[in-house]
């Protein structure tokens, strides 16, 4: 037997009911689960940073730069799972060169570039420009020139220059908020606009994606912020943690409400896809949806965070709780993406049966590749924190 087809012959044995013959293998694998997941983390982390800047929330200040750098590190990797999943990865640039105007996916390149180049890069640059100048004066050796290049020749340090940095930075943040909404709402649209798939086709999809993105981004910043303090052996700032926890709680409520609304709507409408979808939810997605997404990723964090709004246990307990919650929420949102992407392909468009998904270990779309693209952003973040240490920034 051709080894290429071994897994498919195996899958053929595990088909339940009837599926169209071409549906045996899932076209979109774990890498496409990661793509909206990572993009969501970017949008969410950025929105947290913007909340701080636009609404001047004092308690969130220590997380501002960390949020931006986290968003940037993940944004650099966001397209990689998508590209490495392509049948012809080396042709990916065709999306940029000859985008097809009716395709939702074709616009991604432009939304992405707008966000990366215009919003995030510029915002970070204006935030750091003054520090680049100072560091280029203080540092010795190669680093002196690295920071000098990073100033792009804008060496002014007068009050007026600083005012301009702040002004433009603020303007970019204001532009950046709708951009972050656009970036992730748009990712939801890629799925929500597929009318052939009843599990995806929902006008709620972009909104749900957006709020779950905010939830995951806030949880990621909480995780990274606590991790950085732990590694640097610094005391965790409790008002900051409480404040992030409070926002996470609010957004999680909205997210859960929207997702519940979507499901209630499906159940009450109970159209022709209802039977197969209810079998999907109670069967193949029971673990990933019922346990991981809803219980671990939503209900437990909601309960604990809700409790903290009324009753605050000792700092030590809250600290541990926040750290665990951040991991739970991050896991829950990952499984939300899983349930959308993988779940939407497990049942046949004939509505008569199911196929299975076996995540391979190696290979182009295996577990290792997926893990690789999840670890890389943390490496980039570590490098950024070394190159642009927020704790060495001049307060201005």
């Amino acid at each position: 037997m051709d080894p290429r087809y071994e897994a498919l012959y195996e899958a053929l044995k595990n088909v339940h009911g009837y599926i169209y013959p071409n549906e045996i293998s899932l076209t979109w694998s774990i890498l496409i689960v990661e793509y909206p997941y990572i993009t969501g983390l970017v949008a969410g982390a950025f929105i947290l940073a913007s909340l701080n800047r636009v609404f001047k929330i004092k308690a969130l200040e220590p997380t501002y730069i960390i949020s931006l750098l986290t968003a940037f590190a993940f944004l650099l990797v966001a397209t990689m799972p998508l590209i490495s999943h392509l049948g012809k990865p080396l042709r990916f640039w065709e999306i940029m060169i000859t985008p097809h105007s009716t395709s939702a996916m074709a616009i991604f390149g432009f939304v992405y570039l707008w966000y990366l180049m215009i919003v995030l890069l510029l915002e970070i640059w204006f935030d750091y420009r003054y520090d680049f100048v100072i560091w280029s004066r203080e540092k010795k050796g190669v680093m002196k020139y690295v920071y000098k290049i990073l100033t792009l020749g804008a060496m002014g340090t007068s009050e007026k220059d600083l005012k301009w940095d702040k002004k433009i930075g603020y303007f970019i943040t204001v532009v950046g908020i709708p951009s972050a909404f656009l970036l992730h709402g748009y990712v939801g649209f890629i799925f929500g606009s597929v009318k052939a798939n009843p599990w995806w086709s929902s006008v709620m999809m972009p909104v749900i994606f957006l709020f779950s993105a905010m939830v995951s981004g806030i949880a990621l910043v909480l995780f990274v912020y606590m991790g950085i303090n732990f590694i640097r052996k610094k005391v965790q700032n409790m008002p900051t943690l409480d404040s992030i926890g409070k926002y996470l709680f609010y957004i999680l409520i909205i997210d859960f409400t929207l997702e519940s609304l979507d499901q209630i709507h499906r159940i009450y409408e109970a159209n022709e896809s209802f039977e197969i979808i209810s079998m999907l939810v109670s069967g193949k997605l029971f673990f990933t949806l019922g346990i991981m997404q809803v219980t671990v990723g939503t209900l437990i964090p909601l309960l604990i965070l809700g409790l903290f709004q009324f009753f605050k246990p000792a700092d030590k307990i809250r600290k541990i709780a926040y750290f665990i919650i951040s991991i739970f929420v991050l896991t829950g949102v990952f499984f939300m993406r899983w349930n959308v992407v993988i779940g939407g392909q497990l049942f046949s468009k004939s509505l008569h049966g199911f196929t299975t998904y076996n995540l391979g270990f190696g290979g182009q779309e295996g577990f290792l590749m997926a893990l690789f693209w999840m670890i890389i952003p943390f490496g980039i973040l570590a490098f950024l924190l070394w190159l642009l240490p927020p704790w060495k920034k001049t307060v201005h």
Binding site: Y18, N22, R91, P99, K195, S350
Partner: protein, 255 residues
């Protein structure tokens, strides 16, 4: 030239420039939104406009169409990639629907339900619907899949990036990522044959004339005659894909 005419010609020039720039700006801003109207475009031109008719009452489930398609188009000889296949529908007395398509019907069918439990049973040949409002073409990010002027939906495998969005968008499960080419693959209505005036392989091989292929604009043609004489339906009409694959005697149970 006096001062007055010079002023007026300058004004005229400025007006023209402003109009052109403004027009260009407005059209460049609104152009991308044409994309939103993709699903309501109308076919253009007067040439042949191909469609397919399938008479379910005539299909005997021999599977020769599925086999001929694989032979003709280099479709992998495995039981999971098909450009054309046949499904056997069995509706039991208790209302249960059983659908089967072992190896796409190439090896023929056996009936797993005892005769006394069968309410009715029939075969449904499946293939690309060559939609006039094809969702697969709409979503392709690089325009590698397209509709020819004859209404045939094709894939340019030298251009396709293999993202699989078209596979997701097709409501009929007619597309797959070719395991060797790594690009999207589907029924081409044997474009290489029809452009030379030869019928598609699946049509030619059918021993019972269950498949009709023809020009929908030819009012005297065989396909239009078939549509006139039978009550035909398309699959999943609610999808509004403008399907051009018309079935006679299509049961509502068929998806």
């Amino acid at each position: 030239m006096n001062l007055k005419t010079e002023k007026s010609s300058r004004r005229k020039f400025l007006n023209t420039v402003a109009l052109l720039t403004g027009g260009l700006l407005v059209s460049s801003v609104t152009k991308p939104f044409n994309g939103l109207l993709a699903a309501s475009n109308k076919p253009e031109g007067n040439g042949p406009w191909y469609g397919i008719g399938i008479d379910i009452e005539k299909c005997i489930g021999c599977g020769r169409c599925a086999n001929a398609c694989k032979e003709e188009n280099d479709v992998p000889r495995v039981p999971f990639y098909f450009r054309s296949w046949v499904e056997q529908y069995t509706i039991k007395n208790d209302g249960e629907i059983i659908v089967e398509s072992p190896n796409g019907g190439i090896d023929g069918f056996t009936q797993s339900v005892p005769d006394e439990d069968i309410f009715k049973s029939f075969f449904v040949p499946k293939m690309c619907n060559h939609c006039s409002k094809p969702p697969c073409v709409q979503v392709c990010p690089v325009g590698a899949t397209f509709e020819t002027k004859e209404g045939v939906v094709l894939v340019d495998s030298n251009y396709c990036i293999g993202c699989g969005y078209c596979v997701q968008a097709c409501p009929y499960g007619c597309r797959y990522i070719h395991p060797e080419k790594k690009t999207a693959d589907k029924c081409s209505l044997c474009y290489h044959r029809i452009s030379k005036g030869i019928a598609p392989a699946c049509m030619e091989i059918c021993p019972n004339d269950a498949r009709i292929f023809g020009n929908l604009r030819d009012k005297e043609g065989e396909l239009v005659k078939f549509l006139k004489e039978h009550t035909c339906h398309v699959l999943k009409p609610e999808m509004n894909t403008g399907s051009k694959l018309f079935y006679n005697a299509l049961n509502q149970e068929v998806k």
